[in-house]
């Protein structure tokens, strides 16, 4: 009788956990893909971070330096590498693109394009969606 009760309890807990996972909302991992033909790269940061290889990464950043005249010299960049080891790097000093980089958020989807000749970024996109947020952030429900 005692053994049966324990089994029922374990089964109940397992069912509860399974239903929680099933009700966690839409998840849409996007592994990093670098397309050296069309000169685009994209992927979400979380999928890149936990990819089953040592290659994948994606992101953008801004560097600002005091120019000694009361202003700053700024440039930004985006970079990515996919699981095949294909890499993409672009840079920009376009203020709107720099603003886009600075407005990015954690865990989002990043995509960018570049000009092959100058290696300058021609497009930078960020998408902050619930389906990119990791499950361990914590629920408010």
């Amino acid at each position: 009788m005692m053994t049966l009760n324990r089994k029922l309890l374990a089964a109940g807990l397992a069912a509860a956990c399974a239903s929680t996972a099933a009700m966690a909302g839409m998840v849409q991992p996007a592994r990093v893909d670098v397309d050296l033909v069309n000169l685009t790269a994209g992927g979400d940061m979380l999928s890149a971070r936990y990819a089953p290889n040592k290659n994948e990464f994606i992101g953008c950043g801004v560097r600002k330096f005091d120019d000694g005249a009361g202003g700053a010299t700024a440039f930004g960049f985006c970079q990515a590498e996919d699981e095949k080891g294909e890499r993409a790097f672009c840079n920009t000093d376009n203020e709107d693109l720099l603003d886009a980089i600075e407005a990015s958020a954690d865990y989002g989807y990043v995509s960018f394009s570049w000009d092959e000749k100058t290696q300058r970024c021609t497009r930078i996109g960020f998408s902050n969606q619930s389906f990119y947020v990791p499950p361990n952030v914590g629920s408010n429900l």
């Binding site: 050296l36 960049f77 790097f89 840079n91």
Partner: protein, 167 residues
């Protein structure tokens, strides 16, 4: 509002201090002018039997022309004005520092250094994050066109896998 009040009080106090200082300088100027007048009178007087103060004796012994009180005041005003100008200039410079001027020769030298660094990392085949920070700092000091060219070279080398690393 409190800030404005505080600033107003501070400004009033500083103006009062400035006024007192100007008044003190004016008094000193008058005193010196009187001394100069006295020295002139003594020098113009017949040879005295009494000893002359060393400072006045040395002044006349150089044969320097003696000044009237008005001339002395004018000289002091000029000197004070000359002191005021650099102070005003330094205040302006503090607000708006002069932009960094780079000569074409210096620009070429800096660009060549950055190009040399990128070639070095191509040879090594990799760049570490601290090395990247140093390189980016050097690149940032270049004028716009040279900076863009250097970033293009760097990004191309990294995309091609000639330099392993991240920005």
């Amino acid at each position: 509002m409190k800030w404005l009040l505080t600033l107003s009080i501070a400004q009033t106090a500083l103006l009062a201090m400035l006024g007192l200082r100007v008044a003190a300088i004016d008094l000193e100027t008058d005193q010196i002018a009187r001394d100069v007048d006295a020295a002139r009178r003594i020098a113009e007087a017949p040879a005295p039997q009494t000893p002359i103060a060393p400072a006045r004796e040395s002044a006349s012994s150089f044969g320097a022309p003696l000044l009237t009180a008005e001339q002395a005041r004018a000289i002091f005003r000029e000197e004070l004005a000359a002191l005021d100008i650099p102070a005003a200039q330094s205040a302006t410079q503090a607000k708006a520092p002069a932009p960094a001027q780079t000569s074409p020769e210096e620009t070429r030298r800096m660009a060549a250094t950055v190009a040399g660094d990128i070639n070095y990392y191509k040879g090594v085949g990799a760049i570490s994050p601290p090395e990247m920070e140093v390189l980016q700092t050097k690149i940032a000091k270049l004028p716009l066109d040279e900076r863009r060219a250097a970033l293009t070279d760097l990004a191309k080398a990294m995309t091609r896998g000639e330099i392993d690393g991240v920005m």
